[in-house]
């Protein structure tokens, strides 16, 4: 109050008030797009169809229905098996990338990341072409059927591989070269060095990767949908309960069960990250691998094999999409790209996907950057900022499928005035932003943390409001991170299925959903064609990002060079 009496008349708006207001809006927004849907899911699981509270009755029903319990055990089995296969392979691959002098590291890194640019079900489609009823390598299965556990595990391995490699490679890169020099000076055998230095150093990365893979598999919807056959898993069960039988309560129970491993993984990861920090001191010297012909050649062969499989899994579907009639007429044709033949919307879903991904990239990046700035750089209420950060970190622990279910319950609720958005592009965009919020938020926060904390103080002393400094200084400095976030959001919005499959409406079917539908209708080649369109678009976006980063930013960011 005394402030008003003494404030010079020149001042127009109080910065603190603006910051507080924006922070309030951010928290309200995050509550609506993240917390409330989860709450809807939680409350739905303890209600009956009329919305009355029934306690744990739904859970009891679930666990006393044999077919539903089978789906749970099936899911656990598939997730465990995939984890056991992927983590060692990814470790070896990451080891080759970080600890050897093998040639072509750049190429192999790119190959390992390839599956990220495709919807998860693309590898499943490829598998059908290779090992399916008309597959040219069907004999390798020795009479077994690719539709089921084998197909799911194989496809999941491809889908999860890049995530595991990235996590483990990061852990392996954080090695103190001095430890190896000391071990060498003490005449330690290579095996012992591996067991006493390398493996313990990567321990946390391995645990983290295992949890991430397990969670990805158990919550993925696309792969079991395409290649699961009669093999029921949790994710497809949730879909059947909701979309097929309109049994929302049981769907909510499945959603909560899916949430459990993800929450566990999140907790373990948090815990590990705290421990991992201490591993590498400021005085550590980065490890530089030395050439060793035998090892390097062996790892090259291994990486080439893996790279070939990953490229093959992508290439197979792409190739198949251009084949006239598999496997009888192998002439090339574009007829499967005439989507109107297979899908009422024709090219519509693809365009909707582009529009959705574009909106997610633009709106999401803006929201996340401004949100991270408000949390990181303004001096508003500490409690509000902490709460906003917590909400921003929440989606990390929530699989897309679960978030999608939450959205279904939340947006569908009769009491909710937002239910007019059900099935609109708006809800798809909002849901996708929420789904991928955390990683982008962490990227933005990390970039902002690298900026001198005194910039805001200096601006305040010069009587320049923080939003001017945000525009003139913060945004230009963080431009590379902003581009990273936008491309990440765009690619993920293009390829995601699990959340949006519950939310699309008649006019807003997405390409990834069209793939599922065309595959369901038996038009596998058209499904492959649509998947190819998504992959090419995603890769094109990434390439454009790289070009932009190198040339345009290089020019705009002249000030970085001495």
């Amino acid at each position: 109050m005394t402030l008003a009496a003494h404030a010079p008349p020149a001042r127009r708006i109080s910065e603190a008030r603006v910051a507080g207001l924006l922070l309030g809006v951010l928290v309200a927004l995050l509550l609506v797009i993240i917390a409330l849907p989860l709450w809807a899911l939680l409350s739905k699981s303890v209600q009956n169809a009329d919305g009355g509270f029934v306690g744990l009755k739904n859970f009891i029903t679930y666990f006393s229905t044999p077919s539903l319990v089978t789906a749970l055990t099936n899911s656990l089995f598939v997730a465990l098996l995939t984890t056991l296969i992927v983590v060692p392979l990814a470790f070896l691959f990451a080891y080759a990338l970080t600890r050897s002098c093998m040639p072509g590291k750049g190429l192999f890194t790119a190959l390992a990341l390839l599956p990220i640019f495709a919807p998860s079900l693309l590898s499943a489609i490829s598998l059908i072409y290779i090992f399916g009823n008309q597959g040219f390598l069907k004999s390798l299965l020795m009479g077994r059927d690719i539709y089921g556990a084998i197909g799911i595990v194989f496809a999941q391995c491809c889908y999860c591989f890049p995530h595991a490699v990235m996590i483990i490679a990061t852990a392996l890169r954080m090695a103190d070269g001095r430890l190896y020099e000391v071990a060498d000076a003490l005449g330690t055998t290579p095996t012992r060095v591996f067991l006493t230095v390398t493996l313990p150093g990567a321990r946390y990365g391995l645990i983290s990767a295992a949890f991430v893979v397990f969670t990805l598999v158990i919550t993925d919807f696309g792969i079991p949908k395409v290649i699961g056959g009669q093999f029921n898993v949790l994710a497809t069960d949730a879909y059947k309960q909701i979309v097929g039988q309109q049994n929302f309560e049981m769907g909510a129970v499945v959603g909560l069960i899916l949430l459990a491993p993800a929450v566990l993984a999140f907790a373990v990861d948090r815990h590990i990250q705290k421990r991992q920090v201490a591993l590498l001191s400021a005085r550590a010297v980065p490890y530089e691998p030395k050439p060793k012909a035998g090892r390097d050649m062996a790892l090259l062969a291994f990486c080439a094999a893996i790279g070939l499989i990953l490229a093959g899994m992508l290439g197979m579907a792409v190739w198949a999409s251009f084949i006239q009639y598999w496997p009888y007429n192998l002439t090339l044709s574009l007829k499967h790209y005439d989507f109107a033949e297979y899908e009422p919307g024709g090219w519509g879903p693809y365009l909707t996907s582009l529009k959705m991904a574009g909106l997610v990239a633009i709106i999401g990046t803006g929201l996340i950057l401004i949100g991270a700035y408000l949390i990181e750089k303004t001096k508003g209420s500490l409690i509000l900022r902490g709460f906003a950060h917590l909400l921003a970190m929440l989606p990390m622990a929530v699989p897309g499928l679960v978030l999608g279910l939450g959205y279904v319950f939340f947006v569908n609720a009769k009491w909710n005035p937002l239910n007019i958005f059900y099935g609109t592009l708006t809800v798809l965009v909002v849901n996708t932003i929420a789904h991928f919020y955390t990683v982008a938020h962490i990227t933005a926060t990390t970039a902002l943390k690298q900026i001198d904390t005194e910039f805001e103080s200096v601006s305040a002393s010069l009587k320049v409001p923080f939003w001017v400094t945000f525009r003139r200084v913060t945004v230009p400095i963080t431009l590379p991170a902003i581009l990273d976030i936008a491309v990440y959001m765009f690619v993920n919005a293009l390829t995601t299925i699990s959340a949006v499959v519950f939310l699309y409406g008649p006019g807003t079917k997405l390409a990834s959903i069209a793939i599922v539908h065309m595959d369901e209708a038996g038009a596998t080649a058209a499904a492959a064609a649509m998947a190819t369109c998504i992959v090419l678009t995603a890769i094109a976006a990434k390439l454009m990002h790289l070009l932009l980063d190198r040339f345009v930013l290089g020019h705009l960011q002249r000030w970085r060079k001495r």
Binding site: L3, A7, S457, V458, S461, K463, I477, K561
Partner: protein, 408 residues
């Protein structure tokens, strides 16, 4: 050109300070001078009119840690004041409270007659320079300096002229088109100074501005900051942990420790008449000899009486510490007959270039140890060497009496 600039600089100042005169004639507060008269919390009564900046009963805690304990402080218009103290003493916290960057828990701050205790930084009138320079890396030097001016919606030509003027003021006239990363650390800090001064603030705050720089650059920039400040007459507060920096730059030094002001005074006062054993030890070197107060003019050290002025606060018989600066120990012409003479053995001579620092031990006993600085001349003239026994005098006027430390 330089003359014109100076004139402009002055005009700028007299606008700001509304008639206090371009040549700053700092009113050194009477209370600061008499060492002993300064109360422990550094309260200083302003003799004439209100101080430009006054803080009353400022307190701030970070959790359990009390960073500021009821600080009272006045800073006069046009004055250059240094906050000096070891790390964690609260000096930066006090500066940030004055800036409004970290609000105090309680207490008031008045600036230029206005209560700004609750005002956000943008409603206070100051420019600030940080140790990290905090230059905007994506803006040119000229844009950095003009950053605050652009926001005032002044005409472009006026901004350009002002930026040029400031860049010449800090000796970087031709560097306006460069980016911060292309300048050396010292040059970047000059740009930060120009940026802080661009909007002609009433108060300039310097938060350890030289700590990140090389020793050579630091010395030069020290003088430059001082001369710019003198020329513009802007009231300035600098935080530093470097006593030499504070002694050479400040008109008044505020010595802080554990969140309280230990002493406020001119550099000379602080050095010659430290108000506490902490101040005496923190600024320069000093030897402490344990003794007992014996009336107003004498202390007893190791069973011997030494003449010296004992403040009335010490009752006869009270345990005290008697402090003596190394350079105050007299050797030349001392016969051993003087009242305050002492026969000592040179236990150690440490070569420090222009002079040697000697460790003197009382001859015939090991109870008394004191440091003394001997010039190369003195050592040559008197033929001093390690182990030699000589008479020295502890001049009564150089002996300072402090309360004995309570047992740890």
């Amino acid at each position: 050109m330089g003359q014109a600039l100076r004139e402009q600089g002055r005009t700028e100042v007299s606008d700001e300070t509304s008639g206090s005169g371009p040549a700053p004639d700092p009113v050194i507060q009477t209370t600061g001078i008499g060492g002993q008269d300064v109360t422990a919390d550094g309260t200083a009564e302003t003799a004439a009119g209100e101080a430009f900046l006054s803080a009353r009963a400022l307190s701030k805690s970070f959790g359990q840690f009390q960073a500021l304990k009821s600080i009272d402080l006045d800073v006069n218009r046009g004055e250059f004041v240094c906050f000096l103290g070891p790390s964690g003493c609260g000096k930066t916290t006090l500066l940030r409270a004055i800036a409004g960057l970290d609000r105090q828990d309680s207490g008031t701050i008045r600036m230029g007659g206005r209560d700004v205790s609750q005002a956000p930084p943008s409603e206070r009138d100051f420019g600030i320079v940080f140790q990290s320079y905090a230059l905007f890396p994506n803006l040119t030097i000229a844009d950095n300096v003009g950053y605050g001016l652009v926001n005032q919606r002044r005409p472009k030509a006026e901004i350009a002229a002002r930026v040029n003027e400031l860049l010449s003021l800090v000796g970087l006239k031709e560097q306006g088109v460069k980016y911060p990363v292309q300048l050396s650390g010292g040059q970047q800090q000059r740009v930060a100074l120009a940026r802080a001064l661009a909007t002609s603030p009433g108060l300039l705050l310097l938060d350890e501005p030289l700590s990140a720089l090389d020793a050579q650059v630091r010395l030069r920039l020290r003088e430059e900051i001082r001369s710019v400040q003198k020329r513009l007459g802007v009231t300035t507060i600098m935080v530093t942990h470097d006593q030499e920096e504070a002694l050479s730059m400040a008109e008044r030094i505020v010595v802080m420790n554990h969140g309280v002001i230990e002493q406020v005074g001119s550099p000379e006062d602080i050095y010659r008449k430290p108000a506490s054993a902490f101040v005496a030890e923190f600024i320069g070197r000093i030897s402490f000899l344990p003794g007992i107060a014996r009336g107003p003019d004498a202390v007893e050290i190791d069973g011997r009486r030494f003449a010296c002025k004992v403040p009335a606060a010490f009752a006869p018989g009270a345990p005290v510490l008697v402090g003596l600066r190394p350079e105050a120990v007299r050797v030349r012409g001392v016969t051993g007959k003087e009242g305050n003479a002492l026969s000592v053995r040179i236990a150690d001579l440490e070569f420090l270039g222009p002079y040697c620092r000697a460790m003197l031990v009382e001859d015939g006993g090991a109870a008394l140890e004191l440091l003394a600085d001997f010039s190369a001349n003195l050592i040559g003239d008197l033929g001093l060497y390690e182990g030699k026994v000589i008479p020295v005098e502890l001049p009564a006027e150089a002996l300072r009496v402090f309360p004995a430390r309570s047992a740890p």
